[in-house]
């Protein structure tokens, strides 16, 4: 059973907390791994 988190009310200027994601192969990865530079995060739908 995956643990569900409480929604947050993030605003511009706030610090993003830890965000756990998965790579396409199912490995865990945290959002910070992509923050070597400013990051444009686009939440979309994948259709295959």
């Amino acid at each position: 059973m995956r643990q569900m988190r409480t929604p947050t009310d993030l605003h511009v200027g706030d610090v993003v907390p830890t965000v756990e994601l998965e790579t396409a192969t199912g490995s865990p990865v945290e959002l910070g791994a992509f923050l070597e530079q400013t990051l444009l995060v686009v939440a979309i739908r994948y259709y295959g």
């Binding site: 995956r2 993030l10 400013t38 990051l39 995060v41 939440a43 979309i44 994948y46 295959g48």
Partner: protein
């Protein structure tokens, strides 16, 4: 986003796409296949909706499936060559866009109001340009 990526890169930013769908769909986007070029940025999956909850991206309300705006967005995407494939993940999840600085601070946030509701690319480029050190 694919077309705008060179300009985003020139502004010193990276792109990460996130979806609730299956990992194989994210992998397919990163591979050249079916005559489609690979996306030049990483695609990850979010089965627990962590990104969506963190940034407050909403959900589709039942009546929104009946609104012309939603179907206009679908038709616009269709016109750009997008085609509906296998539906996986959470179809009720709305999209959204965020710009996060290296210091993990949110610089820009756009929460979609319906399916296919994305900010104009020019608005994103402007936000990236304004946030440059």
């Amino acid at each position: 986003m694919r077309e705008a990526y060179p300009r985003i890169h020139d502004l010193g930013a990276a792109v990460l796409t996130v979806g609730t769908a299956a990992g194989w769909q994210a992998a397919a986007l990163m591979d050249a296949s079916r005559g489609r070029a690979a996306l030049p940025f990483p695609c990850v999956v979010d089965p627990d909706h962590n990104v969506y909850r963190t940034f407050g991206f909403g959900r589709v309300r039942w009546w929104q499936w009946l609104t012309p705006r939603l179907w206009r967005n679908y038709l616009r995407a269709f016109g750009r060559g997008s085609r509906q494939g296998k539906v996986t993940g959470d179809v009720g999840q709305l999209p959204g866009v965020a710009i996060v600085g290296r210091d993990r601070r949110v610089r820009y946030l756009y929460r979609a109001r319906t399916v296919g509701d994305y900010p104009p690319v020019e608005a994103l480029l402007e936000a990236l340009d304004e946030g440059r050190p």
